[in-house]
């Protein structure tokens, strides 16, 4: 580990790259946070969902239809269905257990392994990559530094998802049920809310978002079975920094971590991977509930 230069040169491209990394993280972290906020489940398999989204998208683009956007939607929905099935068949059985937190961790971790090995079985252990959709597959040069225009699309979509989710949670009937159930599950059930179905719905939505993150990231990274493990750690850090259960927290946390990942290498040549962990430690020490702590914000 040594200093690359005393005065790092931070270009526009570094910022764009950081925000696009943050956008990818946001899509995973917001689903993770949503599921935790409403269901109280810390879903370890969320990184696996992200990876699965990337794989399904790659498979659809290369085997079924050569249209990235359709493939991305298929990828996201396929992951949503996988998530809903997992919630319906396994996680649902754990809610009423006395010490359900540990059981949930073990069960979702079991699914991490199942997804990982299934992906390896189907697609092998090598890595795949695809080009961004043609319309956006060009380089933008800004002040001497270059980035792919598709990164701007990913950033835009992440912002759109944030706004869409916010409107959905605060302005729709289903959103009010979600908020009500997350603050008092028993009261909601007594008032006639079909809590089990709502839980499956929220798990589906969270999984779709993770799948979408994977799908949109497929052109920006190599997709291999290791992907899920790498990303879930970052997503946990984002959620801890932003505050468990907070959407805006997930967004701000994700962008912070994205920028750290992008600018870190400017300052140290190796080990910049540790910077987000340091940030997490600091947040936990100073503001343990996270920057935007609280459910349903």
């Amino acid at each position: 580990m040594s200093l690359t230069s005393l005065v790092p040169l931070i270009g526009i491209s570094d910022v764009v790259i950081g925000l696009s990394l943050g956008s990818r993280l946001f899509l995973i972290a917001v689903g993770l946070s949503l599921i935790f906020g409403v269901l109280g489940v810390l879903n370890f398999a969320h990184g696996g969902f992200y990876m699965l989204g990337a794989y399904v998208t790659l498979a659809v683009v290369s085997n079924v239809i050569d249209n990235f956007w359709i493939a991305a939607v298929v990828g996201a929905l396929a992951v949503g269905i996988v998530g809903a099935v997992i919630e319906f068949s396994a996680i649902r059985r754990l809610y009423d257990r006395v010490d359900s937190d540990l059981d949930q961790l073990i069960v979702t971790f079991g699914f991490v392994l199942v997804i990982h090995e299934t992906v390896r079985f189907i697609w092998g252990s090598g890595s795949y990559s695809i080009d961004p959709p043609d319309v956006f597959n060009f380089s933008v040069t800004f002040g001497g530094s270059t980035f792919n225009a598709y990164r701007l699309v990913v950033i835009g979509l992440a912002v759109a998802v944030l706004i869409g989710l916010w409107l959905f949670i605060t302005r729709t009937y289903f959103g009010s049920l979600v908020r009500g159930t997350s603050s008092d599950r028993e009261m909601a059930a007594m008032l006639g809310v079909d809590v089990p179905r709502l839980y499956t719905g929220v798990f589906f939505l969270g999984s779709v978002l993770a799948g979408l993150g994977g799908a949109l990231s497929a052109p920006l990274q190599s997709t291999s079975p290791a992907l899920g493990d790498q990303v879930i750690i970052d997503a946990f850090i984002v959620v801890v920094i932003g505050g468990l259960g907070s959407m805006s927290g997930a967004f701000v946390g994700a962008m912070l971590i994205g920028m750290m990942q992008s600018l870190g290498p400017q300052f140290i040549s190796a080990g910049s991977i540790a910077i987000p962990f340091l940030a997490m430690v600091i947040v936990l020490l100073i503001r343990p509930e996270g920057l935007f702590g609280g459910i349903g914000e």
Partner: protein, 441 residues
Amino acid sequence: METEIGDDENKEKQTGETPTSSASQSPIGRRRFLQATGAGTAVALAGCSGGGGDSGPVTLGAAYILSGFASLYGEEAERGIEFAQSRINDNGGIDGREVDVIVRDTEASGDTAIQQIRSLVQEDNVDGLFGLDSSGVAQAVAPQISQLQVPFMITHAATPFVTSPQGEHEDSVGNEYVFRDSNSLAQDVYGAARVAEELDATEWATIGPDYAFGYETWDYFQAYCDGLGVEAEFTAEQFPALATSDYTPFISSILDADPDAVLTPLWGADLTTFIGQAEDAGWFDQIDHTLFSVGMGTDYPSDGSPLPEGEYASTRYDPFVPDSETNNSFREAYYEEYGTLPTYNAEGAYRALYLYKDAIESAGSTEASALVDEFTGMEHSGPVGEYQFSETNQATVASVWGTVTYDDEWESNVLDPVNRYEAGPDVLSEALGDSDLPTGI
């Protein structure tokens, strides 16, 4: 009273006999015992015929990366093994004995590799070992080999410290059982410095994997440039973790430093990922020269981004150089069989089988100590050319660097023009100058 005493004696006798009689009365216990004995005998017999005896097949154990980001190296090695094995067995085997090879997956992990190798030696009773793709793995394995006392022919992993005798440097783990038939990082990077000598580039940077191999490549390159008097400044370095899926922040950081040339030892799927993302970032327009030190090993078998034409790459074996009968016929036959040019990993594994064949036939035995004696200082030749094992058990093969050029005839990238830099002990020692880095040869 007497009767009573007699009864007591009888009782004592009975109790004394109890364990034996109950064992003989219990059919389950006896059956289990017999089964265990039978299985034990079978294992012992299998052990004899597998390794210890001088009849039956010669069994060799190999360990390569068969899964994960660098699985393509293991797949290539398996081809080389299969190719050599069928050639040897079709032509009288080794001293009339068939050769069997058991290939295990190291998963690019030192711990896994050690487990696999121990199992090959202790359960499969192999006569000899070869393989290894990763420097980190080789570094972990070498001391174990000296404990297991079975010869190990490394065919790819490049760290100089496994052919640098223990004690020469703090990281040195070389010992009498470990040999290498492919060129080492010290030989390969010497060629990189010779290329740098010729290039119009003064500011140099590196992007390599975040473990010993990445750092050693950069250390040796700087030492050689210094020793050879190359005018070079070393302005930026990046060491992303292995199996990074997104290199853009690291690429961006190097581009911001704007060096004239970059030496990169990225390898496997990491290299493919890097090239695709570097192209997107305008790397090859901005950086005048990129030197890929593990380039050709990844280029042939990879489905992804090929090495860009006009850049420099090295190989541990070139299918066209030397232009010898052995090399040409190997290349042609291999191409006919697999439809691709042989990579250095295929050639290294292929040659390991022939090294064992020659050593076993010359020694007339598969005893480990006899094989070690044969390999020590052995002169040998194969597709890679003629070479000898040095005092430190390193093959004196050349460093091969060239310009990446697409060849229509072979439908593949090749190195053209290509240079062979002789990289024997004296050459490396002189080029390293005042550095305390070992030559590993």
